[in-house]
């Protein structure tokens, strides 16, 4: 095997694959990246056996095809420290030779036959989405997952196939984020798994792999796993086992009050109120009264804060207490100028934030104990 590579392209491909390479694992072989060079090009493969990725690397001239295992973290260090734009890779009896300018590294190479295979995206029924739509939907849901839940399958994002769209939903049972993404179905008639939950780690990889904004993403959902092709990457993930809660049941269909807010100033007020909270008193009181939303927080031994924001409100005052982190995390994924509608029922019912592009975010308030 003998390759001539563009250092920056090889380095960025390694960075993406490194997203799945486990830092700690009893199986040392998984700390490697599998490099496959054929006459058509060069592919890097990494896996932790739950999530796997194949990345095609551009800018490579294959002089002699072949394959090898490369120790991921060491190769990344090498590529980061090298200064010349071109890097040569060669597999020899002694291992892999990496040469660039005046530097030469010889690294031990593992046996590629022992590396677990990662499926490639062959011809199969799949959905097609626009890359930037999917990326936005992932950004708006992924933060709400709960990797520690044992009761439900919350350690990932539900990707629910529907009519002309995939609905992404994530929750940690205290808040819920739901965002649809338009899609077309290619040869899919009946989804094999109506409620596939894609693990958070794979979702992060997908989001990072969507390079060009309008490039299409292909997504093939199976009973127990999922394959996604976007740009140069193909991502494989085993679906999260277990049941996702019936999320649509907990989105209130009707509400008593409706408040229009703009993300920027609201986010700023929430961040300010967060300063004076502690582990013991996480709650911030959101008081909606005549023309003003007042956020008040206080924590023993810390102090208190009071932030006001003008709103349109002509009902009786209503105070509802939220964990401000849950509100802030939602606002962070939206542009500052975006408009959101807040739907409220009372101080102990779910509150819903909605945007006009179909995004819904449900937060449960805090209640006085007993």
């Amino acid at each position: 095997m003998k390759l001539h590579c563009q250092r920056s392209e090889l380095a960025s491909a390694f960075q993406i694959v490194n997203g799945v390479v486990p830092a700690r694992t009893p199986k040392d072989i998984l700390k490697n990246v599998h490099l496959i060079a054929t006459a058509d090009g060069c592919t890097l493969v990494g896996t932790d056996q739950e999530v796997g990725i194949r990345v095609d690397v551009g800018g490579i001239e294959v002089e002699e095809p072949g394959e090898t295992l490369l120790p991921a973290s060491r190769v990344i260090s090498v590529l980061r420290e090298l200064t010349e734009p071109v890097v040569d890779l060669e597999l020899t009896e002694e291992g892999v030779l990496i040469r660039s300018g005046h530097s030469e590294f010889q690294l031990a190479a593992g046996d590629p036959a022992e590396f677990p295979p990662v499926s490639s995206f062959d011809d199969q029924p799949h959905y097609v989405l626009q890359g930037d739509h999917l990326r936005e939907a992932i950004r708006r849901t992924l933060f709400a997952t709960d990797t520690e839940s044992t009761r439900y399958a919350l350690g990932g994002v539900l990707v629910e196939p529907g009519d002309g769209k995939l609905t992404l939903a994530a929750t940690d049972s205290r808040r819920l984020a739901v965002m649809p993404a338009a899609c077309t179905a290619e040869g899919v008639d009946q989804p094999e798994n109506p409620q596939p939950v894609i693990p958070s780690k794979a979702m992060t990889l997908i989001e990072r792999s969507i390079a060009e904004h309008d490039s299409p993403v292909q997504l093939a959902l199976h009973a127990n796993d999922v394959l996604i092709r976007c740009g140069r990457s193909t991502i494989y993930a085993r679906l999260v086992e277990g049941r996702f809660p019936r999320y649509s049941d907990v989105i209130p269909a009707e509400s008593t009050y409706l408040v229009d807010l703009v993300v920027g100033p609201f986010y700023s007020a929430v961040r300010q109120s967060q300063i004076v909270t502690s582990d013991e008193s996480r709650g911030v009181d959101f008081t909606f009264a005549d023309g003003t939303l007042t956020l008040t927080s206080r924590a023993a031994d810390v102090g208190q804060a009071r932030i006001e924001l003008p709103i349109a409100w002509d009902h009786d005052p209503l105070t509802i207490t939220f964990d401000p982190r849950f509100v802030a995390e939602f606002l962070r994924v939206l542009p500052a100028e975006a408009a959101v509608q807040l739907h409220l029922i009372d101080e102990s019912s779910a509150a819903v934030f909605r945007t006009d592009d179909g995004y819904a975010y449900v937060v449960m308030p805090l209640a006085r104990d007993h």
């Binding site: 520690e148 049972s173 205290r174 709650g283 779910a350 449960m364 805090l366 209640a367 104990d369 007993h370």
Partner: protein
């Protein structure tokens, strides 16, 4: 210096005080023999017949047929207990109640204000008598273990002082059964070694004790030498709340052990709620017949005081042990990571469940506060006769 204050035959004495016609007659406070109840308290008259607390009422009545059996009035006893607690708190803020009728007090910091520990003990006994017309026995000693033995030394209405210089003189002649953690089984094991008194125990090499009792062996030796470093921990500052029970006969029936674990869990949960606390971590402790002791802990996603949630965690840990269950000598359930109740984050998915649990807990707390702990019991606890009476133990942690 530490004081251990122990009210004399508390429930029975309260009844005698309130109904003078009972004075001098045998009085039992407890469940009825028809309801298979047990003696919660016995006055000193009936004790002469061999009646003692935790004995089935039926048996007590066979020993003393003319005994008067009274239903416990827990709410009333709790009110009297609060009066007594108020007396303690005049002298020190370091009060660790063990139950309604006994408590540890650390008076080390109070001596400048109120005189020596012995003087404080006199004053406390006098205050209690004047304000409640009840007598208390008090032990004064350099640590909890000695104070506890001392209060029992001259009951009722006694005051026993253990000087730092006189510790060994005080302990040596006592039988080993006076040591915390030495019950029937340990007593028998020690007898086999020819040990009857604390003086004899003190002569044994630590290796031998470790061999017979595991880590507990070293602890026994420390107690025998009058060493006990545990501080008095006021309940509201408690870092953990736990209950454990040592069985009179080792148990290997998982169903019976589960019934006991549930009983312990209920008591811990009740105590949490009474103090307005919630716990984040649940602990399980099992000591096997051979004194091998294992502990397991589980951290919950959110702090709770709900019996149901705590039981889920405790029973889950117990299930994992069940496969390797040998006869069990001691079972304990504890909670730590305590925080004050405040705001609770409501959940999207299990709200009705949580509310139901909460209503169930507060209703059962109310029933028990009014009618006594045994007024409401679970089927499994009744079936297996699992009823725990909190007793101080050497290693409550």
């Amino acid at each position: 210096m530490i004081l251990h204050v122990d009210m004399d035959a508390f429930y029975a004495s309260v009844e005698e005080r309130d109904r003078p016609e009972l004075v001098g007659r045998p009085v039992i406070v407890g469940g009825t023999p028809e309801g298979r109840g047990v003696v919660a308290a016995a006055n000193y008259v009936v004790r002469k017949f061999g009646v003692h607390s935790a004995m089935p009422t039926g048996k007590a009545l066979r020993l003393c047929p003319e005994a008067i059996v009274l239903r416990p009035r827990m709410e009333h006893y709790a009110a009297v207990s609060r009066q007594i607690r108020d007396v303690f708190e005049r002298y020190t803020s370091l009060v660790e109640p063990l139950s309604l009728d006994e408590a540890f007090l650390d008076v080390t910091g109070s001596r400048q204000l109120f005189g020596t520990a012995v003087e404080i003990a006199h004053q406390i006994r006098a205050d209690i008598l004047r304000e409640t017309r009840l007598t208390a026995s008090v032990g004064v000693a350099p640590n909890k273990f000695l104070a506890k033995i001392a209060s029992d030394f001259d009951k009722p209405d006694g005051l026993t002082i253990v000087d730092p210089e006189g510790i060994q003189q005080f302990l040596d002649p006592l039988p080993v059964s006076r040591l915390w953690g030495v019950g029937k089984v340990a007593c028998r094991l020690l007898q086999q070694l020819g040990v009857e008194t604390i003086a004899q125990l003190r002569q044994l090499p630590v290796e031998l004790l470790q061999d017979r009792f595991g880590r507990h062996g070293e602890h026994l030796l420390q107690l025998a030498n009058g060493i006990d470093g545990r501080p008095v921990i006021p309940d509201r500052e408690a870092k953990s709340i736990s209950h454990e029970t040592t069985f009179s006969v080792d148990i290997d029936d998982p169903a019976l052990l589960r019934a006991w674990l549930l009983e312990l869990t209920e008591q811990v949960a009740r105590r949490l709620r009474r103090h307005g606390l919630r716990a984040r971590t649940v602990m399980l402790k099992v000591r096997y017949w051979d004194f091998r002791t294992i502990t397991r802990s589980h951290t919950l996603p959110a702090a709770t005081s709900s019996t149901g949630t705590l039981w889920e965690a405790a029973s889950g840990m117990f299930s994992q042990l069940e496969a390797k269950l040998h006869p069990v000598r001691l079972l304990g359930m504890g909670t730590s990571g305590l925080e004050q109740e405040g705001q609770v984050q409501l959940s999207l998915f299990d709200e009705p469940d949580r509310r139901k649990q909460h209503n169930l807990d507060s209703t059962s707390d109310e029933i028990r506060n009014r009618f006594g702990t045994s007024a409401l019991r679970r089927g499994s606890q009744l079936e297996h006769g699992a009823e725990h009476r909190p007793q101080p133990r050497p290693d409550d942690s």
